[in-house]
């Protein structure tokens, strides 16, 4: 057993039978189940927990909760490293490895603390004044140095092996916070029968009740209420769960920490779970946060918030001191003074006020507490640990005395935790009677209760909790009768604050406002003098409140100081904007399982498994995994696709075209509908015939293309590009549902219903005849652009004679579950013709040779004329985009339009994206166009490309330069017609 010198022999809410071993900077230490890292470290006598951000001043824990600015650690090792975690909210688990941050070579002996010597240089605005002005260039040089000297822990560039999860949830009543008010609200709503979710960021329910003596009467109340809540099946209690933010529609994001369960990622167990919870009603019972007092050297280790000290004492059984000074501007700190005194600590209370209530005075006297009113701390002695304080009178601030102590407990009053209530945009407002900001209101169906509303008294918290819980339950129709709940007996000292903040007049040491970002009173004064008076400006100029603690202990004090500087009343002040997350959350938790292959869903063709099993190499194309090339044709993509192109140009190949968008268009007005959405004519298309169509957007640019086949008088089979299938579907639904509601047309996506395969090459007909014996596939029965619907063994097939490659080709459509069988049947029955599969790379290359445009050319900026398709547009009917297509700028002769490009330098490569220049141009700037698609041509034995070029084919025959600056390449090429093979189309009509 490792000695824990500061652990009291009894008391606290610890499981003393369950000792937990952990380490700090590799040094083994011991704590108990129920400890936080902070309480365990304090029990082990570790007071110095870090160095401050800018000045590398030694720091100890300020708090015992989420507001902690100083005690940040790097947890875990190697891949599991997690920097900047507050030790005050880190549950102690066996084997926990913690490291202190921001000290080199160590926090105990920190060479960087020489920053202290140049401290005058590091005041507010220092970085920007020095490096962003005329000497801006210097910033580039100094930034890495500064960032190394200042800063927090470091992350690691390794994949986090832990697992995270996101999930969705719904509830009728959400109660945030499980203190007095929250427990009561949850109980009231739960008793009424509502579905309740109660979230508490702590490991235990109770909130402020956990500061009370673990053997006292308040503990009975806490346990009784918890037991009743747990007995209600409609109440879901989530501990270790933080409400990160409030969003629209009563949605709250929660993060649950599960390290205490030692989750096993191999078994799919998540380390953290982020829940998106939609609540019909929300009760905020988020409590309040204690503020520090501001005096010189108020950051020394051993200067802590008063309630935190009480928590360490009563909850964690940590005795921090022999002699303590409790300094305060309100009554709440007396509870700490009394409890310390009961544990035998010599206590001096230094109260800034002139007088205190007789009741407190008497009680202090009874506990032998020295009480000094009209007194304040004007300096703190000691560096790595408090050794004493210098006291002055509040009114005069003359040095009155020195007092030895090893602990300073301070209370500057309490700030209600308004953050979540303000996320929706409702600004908090100031209440001078309690010297604090409270919620400025609540959205519909949302309520506040307890300390959040400024009701610090026990009876009020219970009453508000009860009311809020009942009203929240009633929103979902649950019986809202009041139920009885006797309040707990607490040794409450009350609040009784007078002024929010007393500033020391004599400044003989840094008085910190924001501990985490090292912002002092002086920094705020400088900022004010330099004109940064709006709180939003003040914040950004001084970085106050911009640390991982988001200024939970500093923002309000800073507002007070700024108001005092301006000579205005604080009550008119506004806070800075509160934004989620309330406390830091890891990206891992937010991402959940949407990482790696699950970053987004993967779409697979019905032939996917076949491709994988038969040498198909896959490539990701949008959501799809597509067959890219096949091993039969080579061992690399570069060699295989050329072989596959040869196959299609000389024999016959089979390609998977299932990813094409497919839409079933039916109805008496289907022909009219197609006439409207396509630029070319469809109503005159004969039954059993297909046509290539181009859709324009309203602005007259090309939107999508594809073929549509007329299957019957009122039925069409439309195909779209793979990439735009979803867009086209939504677009035509938009037109039918919002504009053309008079048309009797129904559209259904059948992309997943039908698989598609292309049989292409001079031997395509012969191959299909082998596969479909008895079917007449002759040119007269199934001419170019013809369609046949047949059945094989009862399975419907659609054969459409279309060619993307430029060869004789057929597209065969089959219901998806039959795709593999049909594919294998075609391959086996046509094997005498040496049929083989070809992949996406060859498909894309064949179409370039043929000059068919595809997604790379249809970039939503081009017109029909740009693509050489202007003649397709109907002169006789209206169609979407017709009007704006006529805009003069779309017909300017110098528009970039489609050209073919032939490489003139054998042995050199053309690259997609190359910038095109005329032969005489200087090679710089944006050029006259660019290459959209490029391939090796098996027919021409050279690289060819499609591209967009200023003035287009007016420049046919001219030599150009294709520049690729990323590789410093320049290749000579020539503009040609964008059709490299069979310009008359004899092959596809064969």
């Amino acid at each position: 057993m490792i000695a824990t010198p500061y652990r009291l022999p009894a008391g606290g809410r610890l499981d003393r039978d369950d000792a937990i071993g952990f380490s700090l900077d590799g040094r083994p230490m011991s704590g108990f189940r129920g400890d936080t890292l902070a309480s365990a470290l304090l029990a082990n006598g570790v007071m110095l927990v870090g160095r401050s951000f800018k000045y590398h001043r030694p720091r100890g824990f300020l708090s015992a909760g989420i507001e902690e600015p100083n005690g940040l650690f790097t947890l875990g090792e190697g891949q599991c490293t997690e920097p900047n975690v507050a030790g005050t909210v880190t549950e102690l688990v066996e084997g926990l490895s913690a490291r202190r941050q921001n000290g080199w070579p160590s926090v105990e002996f920190d060479l960087m603390s020489i920053n202290w010597l140049i401290a005058p240089l590091l005041a507010a605005g220092f970085y920007y004044k020095t490096f962003m002005g005329p000497t801006r260039g210097a910033w580039m040089f100094y930034e890495p140095l500064i960032r190394r000297a200042a800063g927090l822990g470091r992350g690691v560039h390794q994949r986090d092996p832990d697992r995270y999860q996101t999930r969705h949830a719904f509830t009728e009543v959400l109660v945030i916070g499980a203190g007095l008010a929250g427990l009561t609200a949850a109980l009231a709503a739960g008793r009424a029968g509502a579905r309740v979710v109660l979230v508490e960021q702590d490991t235990l329910l109770g909130g402020g009740l956990l500061l009370e003596d673990a053997a006292g009467p308040a503990e009975d109340w806490r346990r009784r209420v918890e037991a009743e809540l747990q007995s209600l099946p409609n109440v879901d209690i989530l501990t270790r769960t933080t409400a990160l933010g409030l969003y629209d529609g009563g949605t709250v994001a929660l993060v649950e920490r599960r390290d205490h369960l030692q989750p096993d990622s191999a078994c799919g167990e998540a380390r953290q779970i982020v829940t998106t919870l939609r609540a019909r009603a929300i009760v905020y019972a988020t409590g309040a946060t204690e503020r520090p007092l501001i005096f010189p050297n108020n950051d020394r280790p051993g200067v802590m918030l008063a309630a935190a000290v009480r928590g360490y004492l009563n909850r964690f059984a940590v005795g921090l001191a022999k002699r303590a000074v409790v300094t305060t501007n309100n009554d709440s700190a007396y509870a700490t003074a009394f409890d310390l005194a009961r544990h035998g600590v010599a206590v001096t209370v230094v109260d800034q006020r002139n007088a205190v209530r007789r009741e407190l005075e008497n009680k202090a006297k009874a506990l032998k507490i020295e009480l000094r009113t009209d007194a304040t701390v004007i300096d703190v002695l000691g560096t790595k640990r408090v050794t004493g304080v210098v006291l002055g009178s509040t009114s005069g601030e003359a040095q009155l005395s020195k007092s030895d102590c090893d602990l300073v407990c301070m209370s500057g009053g309490w700030s209600p935790t308004v953050h979540l209530t303000a996320h929706g945009g409702i600004k908090p407002h100031y209440r001078s009677d309690i010297a604090a900001f409270v919620p400025g209101g609540y959205a519909e169906g949302q309520f506040g209760a307890g300390a959040l509303t400024g009701s610090f008294a026990v009876a009020a918290a219970i009453r508000e909790g009860m009311d809020a819980g009942r009203t929240a339950a009633a929103r979902s129709g649950h019986d809202a009768r009041a139920s009885e709940l006797a309040p707990p007996v607490l040794d409450s000292t009350g609040y009784g604050i007078e002024s929010i903040c007393h500033l020391p007049r004599k400044r003989n040491g840094k008085a910190f406002v924001d501990f985490q970002n090292d912002v002092t009173v002086k920094d705020l004064t400088i900022a004010h003098q330099e004109g940064y008076q709006s709180v939003e400006h003040l914040k950004r100029y001084t970085t106050l409140g911009m640390g991982t603690d988001q200024g939970k202990t500093s923002n309000i004090n800073a507002l007070v100081i700024e108001a005092q500087s301006r000579g205005v009343d604080i009550s008119g002040a506004t806070t800075t904007t509160f934004r989620p997350p309330f406390t830091p959350v890891s990206f891992g938790a937010l991402s959940g399982r949407s990482v790696g292959k699950d970053f987004r869903p993967t779409r697979r063709s019905p032939l996917h498994d076949w491709h994988l099993a038969h040498g198909g190499e896959l490539i990701q194309a949008g959501p799809w995994m597509r067959a890219w090339w096949y091993r039969w044709a080579g061992s690399t993509a570069q060699s295989a696709y050329i072989e596959e192109m040869r196959l299609v140009r000389t024999g016959v190949g089979l390609a998977d075209a299932s990813t094409l968008g497919k839409i079933d268009v039916q109805g008496p007005d289907a022909a009219e509908f197609l006439d409207r959405i396509y630029a070319n004519n469809f109503s005159k298309l004969q039954i059993g015939k297909a046509r290539y169509g181009v859709m324009l957007a309203d602005d007259g640019t090309v939107f999508d293309d594809g073929t549509t086949t007329r299957l019957g008088e009122t039925r069409y089979f439309m195909t779209t590009t793979t990439a735009q299938a979803g867009e086209v579907m939504s677009w035509i639904e938009f037109l039918l549902q919002t504009a053309w509601t008079d048309l009797k047309v129904h559209v259904t996506s059948i992309t997943d219903e039908w698989a598609a395969m292309a049989v292409a090459g001079p031997r395509a007909r012969a191959a299909l005849e082998l596969a479909l014996p008895g079917e007449d596939l002759s040119d007269s029965k199934l001419p170019y652009m013809g369609c046949l619907e047949i059945k094989i063994e009862g399975v419907p097939l659609r054969l459409i004679r279309l060619s993307f490659s430029g060869e004789l080709a057929f597209e065969v459509y089959v219901p998806a579950d039959h795709a593999v069988a049909l594919w294998e049947h075609i391959l086996s029955s046509a094997s005498p013709l040496d049929i083989k599969p070809y992949g996406l790379e060859a498909v894309a290359s064949l179409r370039i040779e043929k000059g068919h445009v595809a997604g790379l050319e249809l970039d939503h900026r081009n017109t029909l004329d740009d693509l050489g398709l202007g003649r397709m547009a109907s002169e006789t009917k209206a169609y979407v985009g017709r009007e704006l297509r006529q805009r003069p700028m779309l017909h300017a002769p110098q528009r970039w339009s489609l050209v073919g490009i032939e490489c003139l330098e054998p042995g050199k490569t053309l690259r997609g994206g190359s910038i095109l220049f005329a032969g005489t141009d200087k090679i710089e700037g944006h050029g006259r166009g660019y290459i959209t698609s490029v391939t090796w041509s098996t027919e021409l034995n050279k690289f060819i490309a499609l591209g967009l070029y200023q003035g287009g084919l007016q420049h046919a025959g001219e030599d150009i330069v294709c520049a690729y600056p990323l590789k410093a390449e320049q290749v000579k090429a020539r503009i040609v017609a964008p059709m490299f093979i069979d310009p008359k189309g004899e092959r596809l009509r064969a």
Binding site: D248, R676, Q737, T738, W740, D742, A878, Q886, R887
Partner: protein
């Protein structure tokens, strides 16, 4: 999380929907040759602060285009109805 009450499917996260722009803009009648009307419809947008009626499509649900009242300043949502109901009403008013 903005929640949209689809008149057919019930209340859902906005992530089930796609946005479709200002629903008070009148699409010129099909075939209208008035370039100015198309120009206004396609390119000229108000950017109101406050109440707004806008198109949303329930893409992973019933695929209906809807018109949602949403306050662009507060994100508060109001009535949501099928777009075609409104389109039909407009047709009637033109007759």
């Amino acid at each position: 999380m903005l929640r949209i009450a689809c008149p057919l499917c019930g209340e859902r996260d906005y992530t089930e929907f796609r946005y479709g722009g200002d629903a008070d803009k009148r699409r010129p009648l099909h075939g209208t040759a008035d370039l100015k009307a198309w120009d206004d419809y396609v390119f000229v947008f108000d950017n109101p602060k406050g109440p707004h009626r806008e198109f949303w499509q329930h893409v992973v649900g019933c695929r209906q285009w809807l018109i949602l009242e949403r306050d662009t300043a507060t994100n508060a949502v109001g009535v949501c109805e099928l777009a075609r109901a409104l389109a039909n009403a407009r047709e009637d008013s033109r007759r």
